[in-house]
């Protein structure tokens, strides 16, 4: 074979130049071509189904479009700031944005705290550890529709066991409609969020905990540090970069969430987050322009949050 010695690159290639008569391509260029060829299908799908729609949403946000008038509007119809203006000045929008922030922050903090406790308790081997660990991951992998439905029934004032037990054992006077009264709905949704997504934090934190060298803790123990002191001064500093990373990931994901809130409350009782509002505009009001404008606001707010976050925490992580 004519294959060159593979020390030229990380990658071996067996392809021979296809066009005799021309100067053969260098190994490097052939590699580059093969790379582009192999990655093209992936890129095509992502650009077609995600890239173009994102750009289009931005365009739609500046157009006057309703589902009924859709056929008459081209991609580059006249542009207007109407939607953005209308959206920013609609009474409910500021509330929705605030609800989204509270919901995201609450869900993020809750899931990380619960996940941290979970990671700490299953850190050391014990009998049945594998099965305990697997069970703890279940809320995260199970279908969201089934989980929200079970929570709804569980908390239901008539059918649910929570209210039955609350009245029998805790002396509640009346059943609590957790998901339909303003004072509890948002907190219930946040609790659901913490319950469903703590496994995400748990997995990352457990992996990091297991990588903490045993000598560190051993040394601290010899120096007389108690278990809580060892956690505070040895483990926690080791975990901080991971916690920061999970924090930003979870915040972004919760900020974008539609399913959980929509399925639990439908956005009623003060739980309307931006995604749910966009959906309502899109389907109930068929006001595509306004829906797109709100989606763009959602994305922009998200990007701003992440930028601020990276500004304050990104540098520190690189130093660590």
């Amino acid at each position: 074979m004519t294959t060159t010695a593979p020390e030229a690159g990380r990658s071996p290639t067996g392809e021979r130049p296809r066009r005799p008569g021309r100067r053969p391509l260098t190994l490097r260029r052939r590699e580059s071509r093969a790379g582009l060829a192999l990655v093209t299908p992936t890129l095509l799908v992502v650009v077609a189904v995600i890239g173009i729609p994102i750009v289009w949403t931005v365009v739609l946000a500046f157009q006057r479009v309703r589902l009924a008038t859709l056929r008459r509007t081209g991609l580059f119809g006249e542009l207007t700031l109407d939607n953005v203006d209308r959206v920013l000045h609609t009474p409910g929008f500021a509330d929705t944005l605030w609800t989204t922030v509270v919901y995201s922050a609450g869900g993020t903090v809750g899931s990380i705290l619960v996940g941290l406790v979970a990671a700490l308790v299953v850190r050391r081997p014990f009998r049945g550890r594998t099965i305990v660990r697997a069970s703890m991951l279940l809320p995260y992998v199970a279908p969201v529709v089934a989980m929200t439905f079970v929570w709804q029934v569980m908390l239901d004032p008539q059918l649910g066991f929570v209210n039955d037990w609350g009245r029998r054992f805790l002396g509640w006077d009346a059943p609590v409609p957790f998901l339909s009264q303003e004072s509890t709905a948002l907190w219930t949704v946040i609790a659901f969020e913490a319950w469903r997504y703590f496994p995400f934090a748990f997995l990352f934190l457990l992996a990091r905990l297991q990588a903490v060298p045993g000598e560190l803790e051993e040394a601290a123990r010899v120096d007389g540090a108690t278990p809580t002191q060892r956690f505070r001064h040895i483990l926690l500093p080791q975990l901080m970069p991971v916690i920061a990373l999970i924090g930003v990931l979870r915040f972004i994901m919760t900020f974008n969430k539609f399913d959980d809130v929509y399925l639990l409350t439908g956005g009623s009782a003060g739980t309307e987050v931006v995604s749910v509002r966009v959906y309502q505009f899109l389907t109930a009001r068929t006001d595509i322009g306004a829906a797109a404008a709100q989606a763009v606001v959602l994305a922009v707010v998200l990007i701003v949050f992440v930028a601020i976050y990276l500004r304050f925490f990104g540098g520190r992580r690189e130093e660590a």
Binding site: M1, P6, S11, P12, G14, E15, S32, R33, A34, L36, L38, V39, P41, T42, V45, V46, V49, I50, I52, P53, T57, L60, V122, S135, L138, P139, V141, A142, P143, V144, V145, A146, M147, F149, V150, W151, Q152, V153, Q158, L159, F161, N163, W165, R168, G224, T226, P227, M253, N256, F258, L263, S275, Y279, L282, I288, A291, A292, A295, L298, A299
Partner: protein, 288 residues
Amino acid sequence: MDRDRIETVSLRWLRRLVIAAFLVVTLLPFWYMLVLSVRPIERLLLDPGSLLVPFGELTVATYAEVLKSVEDGGQGFLTFIRNSGVVALAATALTLVIAIPGAYAVSRLRFFGRRQVSALFLAVYLFPSIVIAIPLFVVFTRAGLRGSLVGLVLVYISQTLPVSVYMLKNYFDTIPVSLEESAAIDGAGRLGIIRRVSLPLAAPSVMAVALYDFMIAWNEFLFALLFLVDRPNRWTVSLGLSLLSDGVEVPKTVLMAGSVILTLPIVILFFASERLLTEGLTSGAEKG
């Protein structure tokens, strides 16, 4: 006793207590779902606090009702299962066909824009799906693709692709290049190397990614809701369950049977893939 001793002993007990509490909190909703799915609705209304199936109440009529087709007086979940299965399997297969070469390229080959590709995938993964949903809703409405499972498969591929490429890339990274180099010296071409060397080595990981993709597609809700809502015979299990539970006509116990049907495949696949995932990780370690 000094502080260290007190803390050690109390934390040991606290730890057991917390583990037990975690087990209860994570598993209780699943248990509750199972219990309710085999109780008749009249009994549930009389005694909502019971977490066990009282003797003599056990019934599987709920499952019969939820599975039977609408014409036979059921809820038609068999059709939903078929729809979900077809969509999830098609999305998984197509995702793998596209993602394997892509991930290989990102892992092994130096080409123009390689780094940007990885960053792009992360950005796509974290982007709000509701933003993507609006134009897709518009396009699908216009093209008459709303209500078509093909359109849904296409969207699901785009949802699973970034994660799959990312996971597969990590697995390919763990395969020693030297193995591929020896294949190259033996005269294998690029595609031959992927098919005969890299892919068999990554097989457990590919399987794990496939299961993961299947779970994402099976669980998905938003796009199914946007595209299929007016076509009851095309509903997926997730969509069917959520739409039926909005109304009051269908008893909750019957819907609980529906949610057991929705959850069970995922739980089974999860326990299967958990083992696969750990195996995939260990077999990916260098073997010389």
